[in-house]
């Protein structure tokens, strides 16, 4: 008891002491002495194209700013949040971190990320943000302030194995457009080619919620409305029932939820709905093995699809003005035209500066060589923000939701009843 009172007292004192200081200390305009900043990054922790491309970007950055040394901390995406939190707890203040959107509210309110509007002067910030897609920037805002600067973005995209399509007697040039088509194609692949038909990368431990949310929102559903959970409401539940229906028809595979990606890369899965970010890795895996194609995510009949973003934003945690400047320079570089050229062509994320797509200095030649990537770009127009959960229990709520979705899709109970039970349970944990 005494300890907690003391802590509270100290926190109050600290905040009183910090306020005028924080307002006074402005970032210097340039870096003239050597500074080291830490960068928590999850692309670096993957054994895929993402790591190489990120190393390349950082080398370019350090060459441009010889005074800034970037110390990288590579952590897989599902653990990076806990790592940043643990390091803050341990007194090691992170400077820049690449974190996913689902933790946005928590990062802003509890982990003390800096709002760019408070850190950078308005003209400078405006100059940098001009040209970036506004829907993307909107995603990193809490109460009108930018805490996360949109960095790597992708939408769910339907990867398909054209060889399996041919074996199943389907036309690989005419990929499924609606879920009804997916069901038919999935059954054909299962029955005629003897391989797994369709699987979404929505249920695994590293998948987050974005593929699931994209499916739900394409049917006009939503996982929450304000502080009210709505993932068991009609439209959202119907989307899950559609998946359950495909499980029953045999079109939707029943494979290990943690490894559909490997199954697809090994050529044993016909259609895989997943982030476009892994395009680079699949391209490598499929080379000389099977004909890899991409199509926009399927729709519910005539309803427009709502591809949500997966991917990450960059957050600055630095307290020291020197480091803040160095961190901001890193943010600026990583979201520049030249950086997006590398990010898009080498990893497969979307360029958040669309003007570089047809610019011969940047992406034009690559897009010409990889015309399928347009399917991904097309979805940017109707990009729908992924919905994060608020409150201190947000992760538990999210887990309850995803557990119930798995149960509804693969289980034996009534999907609506399963979702409703989880929704009621989760609602009591909402703020």
């Amino acid at each position: 008891m005494l300890r907690r009172t003391t802590l509270k007292l100290m926190a109050t004192l600290a905040s009183v002491a910090m306020t005028p200081l924080g307002a006074l200390a402005e970032m210097p305009a340039a870096i003239d002495k050597p500074v080291t900043i830490s960068f928590y990054n999850y692309n670096l922790a993957s054994a895929s194209a993402g790591a190489d491309a990120t190393r390349e970007l950082l080398a370019m950055f350090e060459k441009k700013f010889p005074n800034i040394k970037v110390e990288t901390i590579a952590v897989p995406s599902n653990e990076i949040m806990s790592r940043v939190q643990a390091d803050i707890v341990a007194g090691r203040q992170p400077d820049v971190a690449q974190l996913v959107f689902r933790d946005l509210i928590y990062i802003a309110s509890d982990l003390g990320a800096n709002a760019l509007e408070d850190m950078v002067n308005p003209e400078e910030l405006k100059a940098h943000l001009t040209g970036m897609i506004p829907q993307g920037l909107e995603l990193g805002k809490v109460d009108g302030k930018t805490y996360g600067l949109a960095y790597t973005f992708s939408t769910p995209i339907l990867y398909y194995n054209a060889d399996l399509f041919k074996q199943a007697g389907l036309d690989p040039d005419n990929p499924p457009k609606t879920w009804t088509d997916v069901d038919a194609a999935g059954r054909a692949i299962k029955e005629k080619a003897g391989k797994n038909g369709f699987f979404p990368g929505a249920y695994g431990p590293v998948d987050g919620t974005f593929v699931y949310q994209a499916i739900v929102m394409s049917n006009g559903g939503k996982v929450r409305d304000g502080n009210k959970l709505t993932f068991a409401d009609t439209n959202a539940a119907d989307a899950v029932k559609m998946l359950r229906g495909m499980v029953e028809s045999g079109a939707h595979a029943k494979i290990d939820v943690a490894s559909p990606s490997d199954t697809f890369a090994a050529g044993n899965l016909g259609m895989f709905l997943y982030t476009s970010a892994v395009y680079g890795s699949y391209k490598k895996a499929a080379k000389d093995k099977f004909d890899l194609r991409m199509a926009p995510m399927p729709s519910f009949g005539e309803k427009p699809t709502a591809p949500t973003n997966s991917g990450s934003a960059l957050y600055v945690f630095s307290k020291d003005p020197e480091k803040q400047r160095a961190a901001y320079e890193l943010l600026k570089f990583l979201t520049s035209k030249e950086a997006y050229t590398v990010i898009t062509s080498k990893i497969g994320y979307l360029p958040l500066r669309l003007d570089i797509v047809d610019d011969p200095n940047y992406l034009a030649s690559w897009v010409k060589e990889n015309p399928m990537f347009r399917a991904n770009l097309k979805q940017l127009d109707h990009l729908t923000p992924n919905i994060a959960f608020p409150g201190p229990n947000y992760r538990q709520v999210e887990k309850m939701m995803m557990d119930s979705v798995r149960e509804a899709v693969f289980g034996t109970g009534d999907p609506s009843a399963v979702l409703t039970a989880a929704q009621d349970e989760g609602q009591s944990l909402m703020p």
Partner: protein, 316 residues
């Protein structure tokens, strides 16, 4: 894994020296000084965290020092006990324990007794084969089993398909996943238990066996009336370890292979409390789940110790 130190040869009661009455009332510093390092470590790593966990189980807190710890009373416990997930985890924990018994006690006991009579190289080779799974790192073992049991190209799955069993989703079908994980955990344990039984078996005084033979006892008679009673302390010890730690030993395989799925069919109380604490960052829930497990296992441990005292036969 959890260490356990136990005197296999004889009970602690006998190891104690005859009571010395002298200097009972004089406090001496020296013994406490010798004990201090062990006591401090024990306090620091066991009892202080235990008390803190007990305290945290009444709070709602996300482990962030800047976040407030909110007192919620018994809410954490109420919620946990109401969650279907918790009930499933407790049942699964029981299943793990029961399922591990054959592999941690029954099979090793018979392997140890039967290989006793093997001689020379055959015995060494045989025991080495049984012992190897134990020294494979748990994560490596998990990954090997994942490959073996993969639904599309796993050797075991394809082999069984050839034999006409169809494709079994060992890790993807809720019907089989729990049994699969229990098997993998047990497979790793066979070597360890066999080693303990072999050591205890070799420690039996050969003159008893000879005497019995001279009296005309059969091989089975010797096992039933001599070896098994004299092995009883080890049997009870391993049974107790299986009951108390068996479900914990499965943690690495759950974490690597299934994450508690499919449909929570493989989660157990230990995995659940780890998930609450370090995946969803809920210190209160995790501590409450830990307390429930602690209380349950404390009762069971007391029962086991009583049984051990009651039934073990010691060769004095």
């Amino acid at each position: 894994m959890t260490d356990i130190q136990a005197d296999l040869a004889r009970p602690l009661a006998l190891a104690r020296s005859p009571a010395t009455e002298r200097e009972q009332n004089v406090f001496t510093v020296l013994p406490w000084l010798y004990l201090a390092p062990a006591l401090i470590l024990l306090m620091m790593w066991t009892y202080v965290p235990l008390v803190q966990a007990f305290q945290l189980s009444f709070y709602q807190w996300n482990m962030l020092p800047t976040a407030p710890q909110r007192y919620v009373g018994l809410t954490n416990y109420q919620r946990l006990l109401a969650l279907p997930e918790m009930r499933a985890a407790l049942w699964n924990t029981l299943f793990y324990i029961l399922g591990l018994f054959p592999m941690s006690v029954v099979i090793p006991l018979f392997v140890a007794i039967w290989t006793q009579d093997l001689t020379g190289r055959a015995r060494t080779v045989y025991r080495a084969l049984i012992f190897v799974p134990m020294i494979v790192a748990p994560v490596v073992a998990a990954v090997l089993w994942r490959w073996l049991l993969n639904e599309d190209q796993g050797l075991v799955t394809l082999g069984l398909e050839q034999l006409g069993f169809g494709r079994i989703g060992f890790l993807t079908d809720p019907k089989y996943a729990l049994a699969t994980l229990t098997w993998i955990t047990g497979w790793k344990l066979i070597g360890f238990s066999t080693l303990l039984f072999s050591a205890a078996n070799a420690g039996i005084n050969p003159s008893y066996i000879e005497a019995a033979r001279i009296d005309g006892a059969t091989r089975w008679g010797i096992i039933r009336d001599l070896r098994l009673p004299l092995l009883s302390p080890t049997i009870l010890l391993l049974s107790m370890m299986t009951i108390l730690f068996g479900a914990q030993w499965s943690f690495a395989y759950i974490n690597v292979l299934t994450n508690g799925g499919p449909l929570k069919s493989t989660t157990n109380i230990f995995y659940l409390l780890w998930e609450y604490g370090f995946q969803t960052l809920s210190a209160g829930w995790s501590s409450a789940a830990g307390m429930i497990a602690f209380a349950g296992f404390a009762v069971i441990a007391a029962g086991c110790l009583w049984l051990m005292k009651r039934f073990a036969v010691y060769d004095n």
